[in-house]
Assembly symmetry: C2
Amino acid sequence: MKENKENVVISKATIDRLPLYYRTLKISQEEGIEIISSDELGRKIGVTPEQIRKDLSAFGEFGKKGVGYYVRELMRNIGEILGLNRKWNIAIVGVGHLGWALANYANFSSQGFQLQAIFDVDDEKIGRYINEVQIFHIDEIKDIVQSRNIEIGIITVPAQHAQSTAMRLVEAGIKGIWNFAPIKLDVPDNIHVVSEDLSVGLNSISYYLSRQNN
Amino acid sequence: MKENKENVVISKATIDRLPLYYRTLKISQEEGIEIISSDELGRKIGVTPEQIRKDLSAFGEFGKKGVGYYVRELMRNIGEILGLNRKWNIAIVGVGHLGWALANYANFSSQGFQLQAIFDVDDEKIGRYINEVQIFHIDEIKDIVQSRNIEIGIITVPAQHAQSTAMRLVEAGIKGIWNFAPIKLDVPDNIHVVSEDLSVGLNSISYYLSRQNN
DNA sequence: TAGATTGTTAATCGATTAACAATC
DNA sequence: TAGATTGTTAATCGATTAACAATC
């Protein structure tokens, strides 16, 4: 595994930018670009070149002075850092509109995230398939998470059930949670939770527009 | 309009926390809680009480020393700051899985965001309705945005069409954009863009899990 | 009054930006 | 070699946390 340098603390902000670098490099690579400078990469992403160089320097020296970065090589390195050089089995809990949309989101699999199971409580939905992935009853969660080596759970249940869902995922042995319920999840320290709070975006826009119009 | 104090700079981080405060106050209010301390509110949200007091102090004095905050009053004040004391007409562009999920997301309307129109290019979809909201051809965007006073646009089109969609929204007169396409949008300075980058979440989880398992 | 809790200032911490030597 | 661009250190900026006077 790609190690970051000893004694270098890596900020959350840096980790959140790595996927942007990775994605942009991928596009560049597909366009046939072989070498890219931090300046050019930064321009495409909307980040300063210093920021990019600083971020990368926490993990090693990936560029060539006076030249830039070899796109393919940097992509491979960042991919390795992000853990994209292996497969991750994931599951979705909650087949509402959002869960359904995510289950259909093809892009995950291209990055090595394979949807292995979907869970719900609605008898109408259980037994059905979304893109060849079966919907199971939540009561089967422990069995299936363990038998299918699922490591990451996606929570798209209503807010009032999110905490108990998180606990079931943890008990089933999951290590990472991607949470879409607008609520703070209490989980053990060794579980990594990323929450997407979709109610913030519109509120922030209305804040700025209110100020503007005055 | 609720003004923030002169000479106080309000950070983006503060603005992004206000919706959490608002939401949590709403829940507390529904539970019949009338007074809440920054300590208790912070505990529920996962933010320090100092943070909350600091954030709020940028806009005024909403609490009572030795007592706490009146839930209903603080909620009203934060709502006013966020521009939730009025209606906002919004539109969605792109009826893929995500656009469809967002069109069905009932929660927006409870905060005053009213979906007035949906746009797409697919003849199969045009003319249909999602929850009584009609799907129009993108070519009608300018007419409809203007006639229906739509101020905020939600972009859920594929990445390669996101930039041109943004430009069409801007030309139509929209002032705020909520962007779900994984790409940086170039828009005029007076347009407020919030991007939700759904590819970051899973990548960040896989990063941390990789480290953990080692 | 005594206890509790706010609002705010000062201290700390962390992240970004600037500058530049190293070197391809 | 001259020009370009990295990697890194130092400087700056911004955000969070600590501390505490004010006061309900």
